[in-house]
């Protein structure tokens, strides 16, 4: 048992000693029953007060390494282990997980399952109470105040949004006053804006209280913005541990780990030769990139001279529309809360969807995106107003009948797996309808998404990207006219994400209209032909991506952040707002030639 300590005495200065916060020497670990080592001869030193991002591909051992920091490896996972892990100079081998938890706080990737008590306060005080700290109430209040959770302390944890749940899990770890915090993929399950909130809190804890922060992360933009050093893992080894700027300059190593250049780094490389040759440091923020590129785009000539047509073509709002696929008129919908009040999610919403539309539905959490999709799919019938899909009122047909025209793919892929193999899940709809060529159709679809090899496995056991492809296959086999996707790219690493975007691109010839609810502005920029912005259950803008990203007031109101490329383009006052790195580079080249 650690002696009960008081929170007030954990001043940051006590920790600024020469002993490394975490020291790993010759660590090799193999999970029981595994065929190969998950960690192999790992050596790593993390200094106190550092902000470290651990990157690496799937299966590179990131999570296992981080679980060695807090003693879950080897105390909970009893595999074969050699080597040593020291936290503040004390070996983890002879201490219990509970003792180490006072030095190393851990927030899991699926943080929602880390919460075990009904209320926020109850959950945060769970640790301090278990360890018998007399000052548990103070610790709880402090952790809640530190993360701005005091107002929702009495709320039930199942009522919280994803971002609030994450902060609650973080507070539960903080209540033990650890000097090291490990956070596994803070951006995986929440939208970028909310991930930034978590990162801002981590940064403050790091700077004000001297807490050493270790995150597992694959969003290069977040790494560039928040981390001070980067650890690259591959094949169970630490390849290197470098300051963030040097780390981001190692393009090939990062590409191997599926961490592609952040757009600002790519822009710097493409447009400034010295950066590409490694003679100048890479820019890692939008401001640095703009400063760097100003030297190139010195004299932007008359804008009209450069008004070359953008490759995708600026989409005029009043372009010809295809036939009507779905129509929502004056739709109002909501739900009743536990206390009995009615919470209105959609109000007076009008929306027409046409043949050939590639619609991105954007807006902050709680703006009504998922509700809109489930109303369109006929899973819910609006309280007022009418929803017509393919000429049929959703009130007059059952959800199952409507499913012949509309397919709704839910946010979490594992929710779509109702059978015991991917093939059975894909076949469920065609077989239920008794289609004569159902089996051939299923095989064709599986082949299309490259899952034939995995078709007999249970969908729940696949990786994130494979699960997402399976749900797309389920959707394809339903042969819908209207395809609705809820957050298809969330919690995917960047390569799987690009796979999904590519697949959406390929679907366009089969499906008449696709609606994607998303927080991913890169997906909006790269894929959508039309963006519908929702705020408090109403459409506040219905336009194309380029117009959206050049409308600061709409972005502000819907709490959206434009992609880095668009931000750089806007700061450079380019004649047309670029949406991709290629577009920006092309415009700058044109300006250079004209100059």
């Amino acid at each position: 048992m650690p002696a009960p300590t008081t929170v007030a005495s954990t001043a940051p200065d006590d920790r600024r000693t020469d002993t490394p916060a975490i020291e790993v020497r010759g660590l090799t670990f193999r999970y029981p029953g595994a065929a190969q080592d998950s960690l192999h001869d790992v050596g790593l030193t993390i200094e106190p007060g550092d902000f470290v991002a651990v990157v690496g591909g799937n299966g590179s051992g990131k999570t296992t390494l981080c679980k060695a920091f807090n003693g879950l490896v080897p105390h909970f996972w009893n595999g074969d282990i050699t080597g040593r892990v020291r936290v503040h100079g004390r070996s983890t081998a002879r201490r219990t997980v509970g003792e180490i938890a006072h030095d190393v706080g851990y927030v899991f990737q699926d943080f929602g399952n880390q919460l075990v008590r009904p209320t926020v306060r109850g959950d945060v005080s769970f640790g301090p109470l278990n360890f018998g700290h007399e000052d548990w109430a103070d610790r709880t209040d402090r952790a809640l105040a530190d993360l701005g959770l005091s107002d929702i302390a009495e709320t039930h944890t199942w009522q919280l949004s994803g971002g609030q749940q994450h902060l609650t899990a973080l507070a539960g770890a903080l209540a033990l006053a650890p000097s090291v915090l490990v956070v596994d993929e803070p951006a995986a399950e929440v939208d970028p804006r909310r991930a930034a909130v978590v990162y801002d809190h981590l940064t403050r804890l790091n700077q004000e209280q001297g807490i050493t922060v270790v995150v597992i992360e694959h969003h290069a933009e977040l790494i560039a913005r928040y981390a001070r050093s980067v650890v690259l893992m591959s094949g169970g080894r630490v390849r290197w541990h470098l300051p963030v700027r040097e780390a981001l300059a190692r393009r090939e190593d990062l590409a191997d780990a599926h961490v592609p250049d952040p757009p600002v780094v790519a822009l710097g490389r493409a447009l400034v030769a010295e950066v590409d040759r490694g003679e100048r440091p890479v820019p890692i923020t939008v401001d640095e990139c703009v400063d760097l590129l100003r030297s190139v785009v010195r004299a932007a000539p008359d804008a009209s001279a450069v008004a070359e047509p953008a490759p995708s073509g600026a989409m005029p709002r009043a372009r010809r529309r295809g036939a009507l696929v779905a129509r929502m008129v004056g739709v109002e919908h909501g739900y009743r809360t536990v206390s009995g009040d009615r919470h209105t999610v959609l109000q007076g919403l009008d929306l027409d969807l046409h043949d050939g539309d590639r619609v991105a539905l954007v807006g902050s959490n709680g703006a009504g995106k998922s509700t809109l999709l489930s109303v369109l799919a006929g899973l819910a019938v609006p309280r007022a107003g009418a929803v017509e899909v393919d000429g049929r009122d959703t009130r007059s047909v059952s959800a199952a009948t409507l499913a012949d025209t509309v397919c709704y793919l839910m946010q979490r892929p594992e929710e779509m797996f109702l059978q015991d193999s991917v093939r059975a899940d894909v076949a469920m709809h065609p077989h239920g309808r008794g289609l004569p060529d159902a089996d051939a159709l299923v095989e064709r679809v599986l082949d299309r998404v490259d899952l034939t090899r995995l078709a007999d496995r249970d969908g729940r056991l696949l990786s994130g990207g494979q699960q997402r492809r399976s749900t797309l296959a389920i959707g394809l086999a339903m042969r819908p006219r209207l395809l609705l996707l809820d957050e298809p790219t969330s919690s995917l690493d960047l390569r799987s994400r690009d796979d999904v975007i590519g697949m959406l691109e390929a679907l366009s010839d089969h499906i008449r209209c696709t609606v994607v609810a998303t927080h991913d502005m890169h997906l909006v920029a790269e894929w959508a032909s039309r963006v519908v912005v929702l705020d408090h259950g109403q459409v506040i803008a219905d336009t194309d991506p380029r117009t959206l990203f050049s409308s600061p007031d709409v972005l502000e109101r819907a709490r959206l952040v434009s992609p880095q490329v668009a931000q750089v383009g806007a700061a450079l006052a380019l004649p047309e707002l670029p949406l991709t790195v290629d577009e920006l580079v092309r415009q700058v080249r044109t300006i250079e030639e004209l100059a």
Partner: protein, 294 residues
């Protein structure tokens, strides 16, 4: 402690009742899960589990509530007098209503009790039973009814935190207290999971083809979906709990075994007041008097 949000007693406040889809639209071909509002059932269960309706027992110390429950649940077994049982039943019903058990539980309870009594009665009459058999039937129904009602009244009034604190204060193993509160935490999660799976079946399963005689097709479809939902439900839940087990380790739960350092701290807020004692005393007196007089 949970904030107890008191809502006015609501017997028709269900979302579904005022919803256009259940107000008997003639052209509606929606049926089965398309009509039943899982949403309403979910809200009811959550209200029941988290004691959000308040009621006279919700304000009492959990130990007093458990004690009250023990007395009330044992009393009906100590008598064979029909009038005494009738008194117990009426009092239990009053307590259950005062504890605001809500329409869902009350409906299920009435359905169960009356349904069972009815079929046993038919059985007794068909097999040539005597009036004495009917009396026995009334007795057992009253006994079971009274016990069910006080159980509902007690557990509707204890939110998970209170219940686990109460159990721990009475020296129940810590794992039991935790299990209870974690079980409660899982309730909304399981319902959500179930609803999603049902939605999946609604969208992707075979469409229904008419209700059939007495709606047997609809009943069969609903039944089949409920059974098929079991496997994904359990697997998805099992996957979630892997992290929970690791998290419990890091949060010191394994220390709550033999000499639990947190027990005293956790229970320090419990106060057994005069009102709690009065509740127990009054209940005991009523029980003893009823048993003695009737």
């Amino acid at each position: 402690m949970t904030s107890v949000v008191t809502t006015p007693p609501r017997t028709t406040g269900a979302d579904g009742r005022r919803d256009p889809r259940t107000t008997g639209r003639k052209n509606s071909s929606r049926s089965g899960f398309d009509r039943v509002t899982v949403e309403w059932v979910k809200l009811e269960l959550v209200r029941v589990a988290y004691a959000t309706r308040g009621g006279f027992l919700a304000r009492r110390d959990p130990r007093a509530v458990l004690g009250w429950y023990l007395v009330c649940a044992l009393a009906p077994w100590l008598t064979y007098s029909t009038p005494a049982l009738a008194v117990f039943f009426v009092l239990s019903l009053a307590c259950a209503l005062a504890a605001r058990i809500g329409p869902l539980l009350l409906g299920l309870f009435s359905l169960g009790l009356l349904g069972q009594a009815a079929y046993v009665l038919v059985l007794v009459l068909v097999l040539g039973g005597s009036p004495a058999a009917v009396d026995g039937l009334v007795q057992i129904s009253l006994k079971l009814g009274a016990i069910s009602l006080v159980s509902m009244a007690a557990f509707v009034s204890l939110d998970p935190e209170k219940l686990s604190d109460g159990l721990q204060a009475l020296r129940a193993p810590a794992v039991l207290g935790f299990g209870v509160s974690y079980g409660y935490r899982m309730v909304p999660m399981l319902i959500d999971e179930f609803q999603t799976i049902v939605d999946g079946h609604r969208m992707r399963g075979a469409p229904h083809c008419g209700h059939g005689f007495l709606g047997w097709r609809t009943a069969a479809r609903v039944g089949r979906i409920a059974v098929q939902a079991f496997y994904p439900l359990i697997l998805n839940t099992a996957q979630r709990t892997r992290t929970t087990v690791e998290a419990l380790e890091t949060r010191g739960f394994s220390l709550t075994g033999s000499d639990d350092p947190g027990r005293r701290l956790r229970l320090a807020h419990l106060r057994f007041t005069v009102a709690d004692a009065a509740l127990l005393l009054v209940t005991l007196t009523i029980v003893v008097v009823t048993l003695a007089v009737l």
